[in-house]
């Protein structure tokens, strides 16, 4: 009886695991196969013969390449500013004795989840419009930095709290200024935390659609997430060969970063790391 139950449990387990794996893998089949298919359609077919021709076409498309560059500028710009500004703030929050700072952080996180891209698109658009930053990459970078900062500060603070104060105390005794302490003592020690925040911010901004879609309209400033919608025929249907290979190319940095993080740190979990 006990053996039967054990066998049944094993069978149920493998059945469940297979179904789950299939559910998550099957939609991705198309993305993996179609870019290499010279006659790609919406069907997930094994390409015969497999070809890199689609990618060559995409690489030869100046507009598509420009859009990838724009995505990189947005991602890297928001990543650098967010990481630097968040580290400064986390340091201040961890090393001063102003009462009520914990409350401040929670209130900020609360607000950043209330004023999300979707709910805030109207005032954000008008704000950027009045600032004269419509259709500029800088405008998008600033908006993302503002939205990502509370969570970034929250993550960074954990790392700063993990550094023993004795290092800074000895630096203080030797007459270091706050700036020197931050630059020469704290910043090198919280580098793992800065990496986490940087990768998180980059992945978030690189893949984002709505904010750039609203704020950027000219072909020279469009990021890849918006530009991908221009590979359409005159009849209004997507050109599958180009779209699929461009989509895979666009997903590639995220996949590489995932592998890197997984290999270097293990995909650890920082509560609410993705919004």
């Amino acid at each position: 009886m006990r053996l039967v139950r054990l066998v049944l449990a094993r069978v149920a387990f493998y059945l469940f695991v297979t179904l789950v794996a299939a559910f998550f893998a099957l939609p991705m089949l198309w993305l993996v196969l179609t870019p290499f298919n010279p006659r790609g359609t919406l069907a997930a077919e094994i390409p015969s013969p497999a070809t890199m021709a689609n990618f060559r076409l995409v690489f030869a498309n100046a507009f598509a390449m420009r859009a990838l560059l724009n995505s990189a500028i947005l991602g890297i710009g928001a990543m650098l500013i967010t990481t630097l500004v968040a580290t400064l703030a986390a340091y201040a929050l961890s090393r001063t004795d102003v009462p009520g700072l914990d409350f401040l952080i929670y209130a900020l996180i609360l607000f950043s989840s209330v004023v999300t891209g979707t709910a805030a698109m109207v005032p954000i658009f008008l704000l950027i419009f009045y600032l004269g930053l419509i259709d500029t990459l800088l405008g998008v970078i600033l908006v993302f930095t503002g939205g990502l900062l509370p969570t970034a500060i929250f993550i960074m603070r954990d790392f700063v709290e993990g550094i023993p104060r004795s290092y800074e105390e000895s630096a203080l005794v030797s007459g270091a200024t706050p700036r020197q302490m931050f630059q020469d003592v704290v910043a090198p020690l919280v580098q793992p935390g800065m990496m986490v925040v940087a990768i998180w911010a980059f992945v978030h901004v690189w893949g984002a659609f709505l904010i750039p879609f609203i704020l950027l309209r000219s072909p020279t400033s469009m990021p890849a997430s918006v530009a991908i919608y221009s590979f359409y025929t005159e009849a209004g249907t997507p050109i599958i060969t180009l779209t699929s290979s461009y989509a895979l190319l666009f997903a590639l940095p995220v996949l590489v970063l995932y592998l890197l993080v997984n290999w270097r740190y293990g995909f650890r979990f920082f509560g609410g790391i993705k919004r």
Binding site: V85, A92, T96, L127, F209, S225, P238
Partner: protein
Amino acid sequence: MTGGAPILSRRTGFFFLLPSLGFVSLFILFPFVWVFYLSFTNQTLTGVTAIQSRLVGLANYHRLLDFETWMTSGQFGNALRISAQFVVGSALIGQALLGLAIAWAFYRWRGAFREIVYTLVILAWIIPDVVVAFTWMAFLDRDRGTLNAILQLLRLAPVDWLIQQPVLSIIIFNTWRGTAFSMLLFSSALATIPPSYLESAEVAGASGWQKFRDIILPLIRSHILTDIILITLWTFNTFTPFLITGGGPAFKSELVSIYTFRIAFQFFEFGRGGAIAVAMMLINLVLALTYLTILRRQGVRT
């Protein structure tokens, strides 16, 4: 905080905080306040009201909450109803249950199977929005889509998913998209449970379900609450389904987020869009405050 003198003076600390305060005030606090003001005006992007908008009182709210028509197709009440179905279906039933099931199935299980499943689930979560939108449009396509190909293998009739079942389609899509968060949260919660708890139950002859119900569930209750509130908040605000169905056909999958977008950025009626945004933010605020209350209570307990 540990004892001893603080390392930074309040003045220096303030300078370090200044850039963050600037960003947050300008791009989070100011929009929050401004959208309330906007919702009482007739601001548009073009035309006379773009330059000289004026206060119109509650007119935008009256239009939003006109109970004669608000449940009809393409109106606010209808969008709220679809959003509610979407949140219950994809966040509560889909992501939370599936995430918990996967985490529980692999509790005390290491090895290749776990690696494969976790990697697949996480990949579905981190790939950019537009990329998953295209793969899902292909997956659900009536004539060539992978899903219908499988149905035909099983001798079942193909379905025109995005036309006949738009809400079900985006619910399944969003379950696929977001399960990773719940799975990761629950696996780290389960990892904190000492194996001895379960071993003694096993000695007493408890079944898998009994162990789960009587030992695991009470121990991870607070994690479940946290998970449910966060994914509800995110699912309510997500815009990605727009990339798959465009809110259609005939507004049948128009979530509140998509409705806001249509009013504000296809008609460029910012006053009206502002009123919807206010409603959205108030719903968000209630969810976020609930979350904070739970966090505070947990803080007291530990």
